[in-house]
Symmetry: C2
Subunit: 462 residues, 2 copies
């Protein structure tokens, strides 16, 4: 197939679906079923490594192994990089040693680090031994940096130039260089001690005369990261300042690597994913996890929820006499708690996101707390009138309407306050508010909701 | 201040906090209070436009206006681009016409489009009139593309070359060009009809000999987008295939612009943010919204929740006789519903995310449904034993333990199934599952939870 053909084929795919279509998956599985290696290779050819990884994640383990065996040597190292962790070990185990060796050798050292850091020791060893000696050293060195640090994220291959060089010198140097990185966007300017002092975009270098000084073309804003810096901070800075690439320096400020936006984008997606799942009380779960894995991952949160639900029941138990006297209370009781829980979830989600994006700070916390208080009160009043009216119409007891109305106001105010104060407090003491806010807030709204409703009923109706 | 000083200063800022510190905010507000323009300018100097935008979002409207007045001509157009929509109109209204004109003229046309597309017509006009004629035409043309389309997202400034050019020809062309874009990463190769056929990274151009053909250096994989394509699809493709920039073509396949990764990253963040907020029943809310705005935005979801809570209460009302006979049922009743709601939220969050990242497809839906069913049953059994024992110990009625245990199993199975089937169905009929799944799933778990628990009690205990 000529290059031109390939371009057109990729183009067509863009139009209707770059995500793997069901039709393609079915055709591929048919080819595996028929053990038709030639057809399989032809069907896989136009797919990007990321798509092949998705395919391997979507099919079950048995089909996955048969596909890998049939696909054989065509297996590309990049597929391993793209695979979800939960499937990665299974795929590595299924690859023949020769295919694995060749696949891993194709990868850049930072991709190998990313690939093996979460693998079991045995699998790590297999892959390290597959690497050439120089790459193995680079990977082992990267693994000495803390997990989730800039040092793990960076690539060691950098393009740098002395700060006094001209455009012409830089171009001649690059043209002569044998091992430029696959992707780079800036030339990093360094002082004689290899400390980065600025960087120049390739576009600027391209469009300038040979005799111009690189230092005069340097970008106005320039940031470096330390090898030990948290990858979350790095991703935040890339997003906030629209960085494309940024140098990484060691303790003495010397250039040791570079982080590019595609790495930062992956971290940012992961952080977002983690926040969403944590808010719902789910661990780092993926679709390819087994049933037992998800049962285990979901159990702890459900258990915590059971404890808080029992706490709420203990509150209800204090009012058994009241409930026995007015059964209508048992009918309406869940409404107050449910409304409080929902209002609390709204406030806490906004607060957790604002903390994550660093929009909620000491400078505006007080204003935001006041806003939640007033908003809770206003919505509380509206729902008090609504629900009060419904209570009266339904059960024909005016005092029941008053009780549920007042309880509604109380619980929505409490929900608003808990929704902002709980995440702020957790953040202050260094706990991820996405992880724990939900339990605290719904416990508060359940307990206070039942207490306000049944307590008011006991005082006003008995 | 020399360039070297500036580099060191930015560097230091990196170390402790690139996010605006509370100290900096306080110092800036003091300078505004003291009306010390020189001090204000000095304090603002090291801040990136994104930080200044954050600052303006964090302080209240009165301080914001005084800061803008004092800051005067130093106000940069990029700050407007970075501002949250909720504050943008307020800031634009506060700027003097001269400052606004100058600020807007600094921006590239795609940034102006992004800036004004959500503004009120009056503010749009003010900004359009501030632009030079050629830019105004470009912006007006971009606004003819559908909202949230690739056409709105792209920049019109592209660097392209005929497919038969050599590296030398490309470099000479770029060096002679007057108006190259601020940031570009590829040279796009076009055929004689201006249709893109591939692209070459600047790094490859840099490191190759002058006589080499650009076509021989083209990247192996290459994707284009149509002007009308949804920006969400574009962002997905950038993330999935690690794109840095990609050409945008019109209906005839001709090159009309280019989208770069930083634009895609912004869209991706927005989509994620939207998903998180929607899952919690919150609209596009921001911290700088007024109290009235958030009351209005949160009301509809709370109202829907009230309706579903009333539905659940209607179910409870069917069992008034049972509740009157066994008050302990009222005490334990919320536990079953609460556990079901939480388990349902876990499943649905995983499903909604998997749909968003296109990991959940027709190929694996059945397997995922079966997994949720079994996981719900397994966790249901564990909690049935736990809660059954608690019920017996607490109230001394063995049958109460049996009832709550069976209800727990039923509701956790239902929760698992609803958590996956509801998002899948909504996705199939074209409704965003993040938006509506929560209501449906918790309604199902509440209604079924109460029904299973009270129904079993009515049958087994009366």
């Amino acid at each position: 197939m000529s290059d031109a053909d390939q371009v057109i084929e990729t183009d067509e795919q863009d139009e209707d679906a770059y995500a793997l279509t069901g039709k393609t998956v079915a055709a591929i599985l048919d080819a595996v079923e028929a053990e038709d290696a030639a057809l399989l290779t032809e069907l896989m050819e136009p797919l990007h490594a990321a798509d092949i990884a998705d395919l391997l994640e979507q099919i079950d383990s048995d089909k996955r192994h048969r596909l890998i065996a049939l696909y054989g040597k065509a297996f590309d190292g990049e597929i391993l990089s793209e695979l979800d962790e939960s499937v990665r070990e299974d795929v590595i185990a299924a690859l023949s040693p020769e295919v694995l060796t060749e696949a891993v050798r194709e990868l850049e050292s930072d991709d190998v680090v990313d690939l093996i850091e979460d693998l079991e020791k045995i699998h790590q060893q297999v892959i390290l031994e597959a690497l050439e000696a120089s790459d193995r050293v680079a990977v082992e060195r990267a693994l000495t940096f803390p997990e989730y640090s800039a040092g793990r994220l960076m690539q060691r291959e950098v393009v740098m130039a002395p700060e006094h060089w001209s455009v012409g010198e830089a171009i001649d140097f690059m043209r002569a260089a044998e091992d430029l990185p696959e992707q780079f966007y800036h030339i990093i300017l360094v002082d004689p001690r290899l400390r980065p002092v600025g960087h120049v975009t390739l576009g600027k270098v391209m469009s300038s005369r040979r005799q111009e000084k690189l230092a005069d073309l340097a970008e106005p804003s320039f940031r470096t990261f330390s090898v030990t810096q948290d990858e979350e901070d790095v991703a935040y800075a890339f997003n906030q300042y629209h960085l494309i690439s940024a140098p990484v320096v060691d303790d003495e400020g010397r250039l040791v690597g570079v982080i590019t936006i595609d790495d930062a984008m992956i971290v940012l997606s992961e952080e977002n994913e983690e926040d969403i799942l944590r808010l719902a009380g789910v661990g780092p779960e993926s679709l390819s996890d087994t049933t037992v894995q998800i049962v285990k991952q979901r159990f702890p949160w459900l258990f915590v929820n059971l404890m808080t639900a029992i706490l709420a029941s203990l509150v209800i138990a204090q009012f058994e006499a009241t409930l026995a006297a007015v059964v209508a209370l048992a009918v309406l009781m869940p409404i107050v708690a449910s409304m409080g829980g929902n209002a609390g979830t709204q406030s806490l989600t906004v607060a957790v996101r604002a903390l994550a994006t660093r929009d909620l700070t000491g400078s505006n916390a007080l204003r935001v707390i006041r806003r939640e208080l007033v908003a809770g009160f206003l919505n509380g009043c509206v729902f008090a009138v609504l629900m009060g009216a419904i209570g009266i119409l339904w059960f024909g007891t005016p005092m029941l309407g008053v009780v549920i109305g007042l309880a509604m106001i109380a619980n929505l105010v409490i929900a608003g306050l808990a929704g902002i104060l709980v995440p702020l407090t957790l953040d202050k003491v260094g706990v991820d508010p996405a992880l724990a806010s939900g339990v605290f807030v719904t416990t508060v709204t359940d307990v206070m909701g039942f207490f306000a409703f049944l307590g008011l009923a006991a005082v006003l109706m008995l």
